[in-house]
Amino acid sequence: MRLPYFELFEPATVPELLTILKREQVRVLAGGTDIMPLMRFGLLQPAKLVSLRNLPELKGVERRGKALHIGATTTLAEIAGSPIIEKDAPLLHEAALAVAAPPIRNVATIGGNVFQNSRCLFYNQSAAWRRERQPCLKAGGEVCLAVPGSRKCFSVYQGDIAPALIAAGAKVRIEAKKKGGSREVPVEDLFTGRGVQPLSLRSGEMATHFVIPILQDTGSGYAKFRLRSAIDYPLAGAAAFVTARKGTIASARLVLSAAGPAPVIVPLDGVAAGKRSGEIDLDAIARAIPKNLPLVNNHILPASYRREMLSVFAKRAMKTALDRV
C-alpha cells in the first residue's frame, strides 16, 4: 500500500512550525506510527504534512524546579530509558514500557501517543474496501457500523500514556502563533469525549511539552490488559497514582484507558483519602467506575468482558500503587 502524495514542510524552529500551522491546512508528523497506517488506509488524506523531526526544542527531559518538562517529540524509548523519569515519574515510565514493542518505541513520541486516534474494528480498514458500503460516522459518513443506526461513534481511545499523565496530574503546554497563544492545561482537557474527533486543539495550536509535577511520597501503577504480551493496544487499562502524608493516603487518582472515546477519570471521593493503604477497599474503588461506559462489541473481545476487566485492572493498578507508596 502506498502513501498518497503530500507536501512536506520541515521547519527548523518552533516559531517556524507555528507559522506553518497558522498559515496552512496541515497535519503534524511526529514518529508516524499512528498517522502513516491511517494514511495508507485512506482514512486520513492530508495534502500537507509538517514534520517535527528537526526541532530539538521539542525533545528532551528536564527537571525544572518541582516539575519535569518533557518535550512532545521525545520518543517513548527515550522516556522508558530515562533515569530521571524512572525516579520522578515512575507511572509514565511504566506506561511507556507497556506501549507496543521496542522498535515502535524507538520512533513513537509521547505527543504522538497522546494524540493518537481512537480505534474500532469497523473504522480501521482501508477506504477501498468501503467504497460501496457506507462510510462510518468517524470516516465521514452518516451512521455507525458497529452499532447499526446509531448516530454516536463508539470508537475507543486506547492510548497508554495519556491515562498515566492524567493520573499523575500532568499538564500540557500548548503554543500557537497568535495573541495569547500560549496556554497550559491539564492533559484531560485535550479530550473531547467524542469518538469522531477524540482530540482537539484549536486551529494553529501545537502541544510542545508535558509538565509533570514531582511529588514526594507517591505510589503508582499502570495495569494493562491485552491478549498478547506485546504489540497490542490495551483492551482495558488503568493508571493509578496515590500520594501519602503521615502514613495515610492524601490523594488518589485512577484513570482508565480503553473505556470509551476518552480516558476516564474515576471519581474516588471518600474511598481512599485519609485511610491507611492497607485499609482501602479495592472493591469500592472498582465500584466507583462509572456504570455507563460507552463500550460496545467493536473490538476483539465483548464489551461486557472488557467492562469487567476494567474493574479487575483498576484494582490491580491501585493495589500496586498502594503497595509502593
Binding site: Y5, L8, R40, F41, I231
Partner: protein, 162 residues
C-alpha cells in the same frame, strides 16, 4: 493531477552515501528496495506491526515502512546487506544458521538486525531481554524458540560491538 515535486535527498546506507531524487510520500522501505535495490527488508503488513521491514537507524531498530525517506536523512542506516560486507558471515548470521533459526527467511533480515542492536547494547542478554527485544518481529515458521537460542549463543567481543 496536482503538481508534484521531488526532492533531492542524501541517504547514508551501510556506510555509503546515496544521492537521489524522490517524492516526500515515499517511505525508506520503498526507496531502499526500489531505488537502491537493497531488497533484504521486506513489506509484510501496512501498519508497522510485523517487523519484516526493520532496518537500523543510528544503531536502533526502526520500521522502515513508517519512516519517510526524506526523514531518514542525516542518520546512519544499516540494512541486512550491510551486516557482513565482503568478509565472512557475521557471527549473528552464523548463529542463526547453526541453530536452525531460519526457515522461510522472510522475517530473517529484520530479526537479525534487531538482534544486532540488542547485542550491541547488551552483550549478555537474559532470555527475557531477548524476547522483549524481538517482541516486535513476527515469525510464523519457527515459533521463536530457535531464534532465541541463536541470539543467546552469540559470543561477543567486549571491546567493541560487532
Amino acid at each position: 493531477m496536482d503538481k508534484k515535486s521531488k526532492r533531492l535527498i542524501t541517504l547514508t546506507v551501510n556506510g555509503q552515501e546515496y544521492e537521489l531524487a524522490t517524492y516526500p510520500n515515499r517511505t525508506l522501505l520503498e526507496v531502499l528496495r526500489e531505488d537502491l535495490s537493497l531488497k533484504g527488508a521486506k513489506e509484510a503488513c501496512e501498519d508497522g506491526v510485523c517487523g519484516a521491514c526493520t532496518v537500523l537507524l543510528d544503531g536502533k531498530p526502526v520500521r522502515s515502512c513508517l519512516l519517510l525517506a526524506v526523514e531518514a536523512q542525516g542518520g546512519e542506516i544499516t540494512t541486512i546487506e550491510g551486516l557482513s560486507g565482503n568478509e565472512k558471515v557475521h557471527p549473528i548470521q552464523q548463529a542463526f544458521l547453526d541453530h536452525g533459526a531460519v526457515q522461510c527467511g522472510y522475517c530473517t533480515s529484520g530479526m537479525v538486525l534487531t538482534a544486532k542492536a540488542l547485542l550491541d547494547a547488551n552483550p549478555k542478554p537474559s532470555e527475557e531481554e531477548v524476547l522483549t527485544a524481538i517482541s516486535g518481529n513476527f515469525c510464523r515458521c519457527t515459533g521463536y524458540n530457535k531464534i532465541v537460542k541463536a541470539i543467546s549463543s552469540v559470543k561477543t567481543d567486549r571491546e567493541g560491538g560487532h
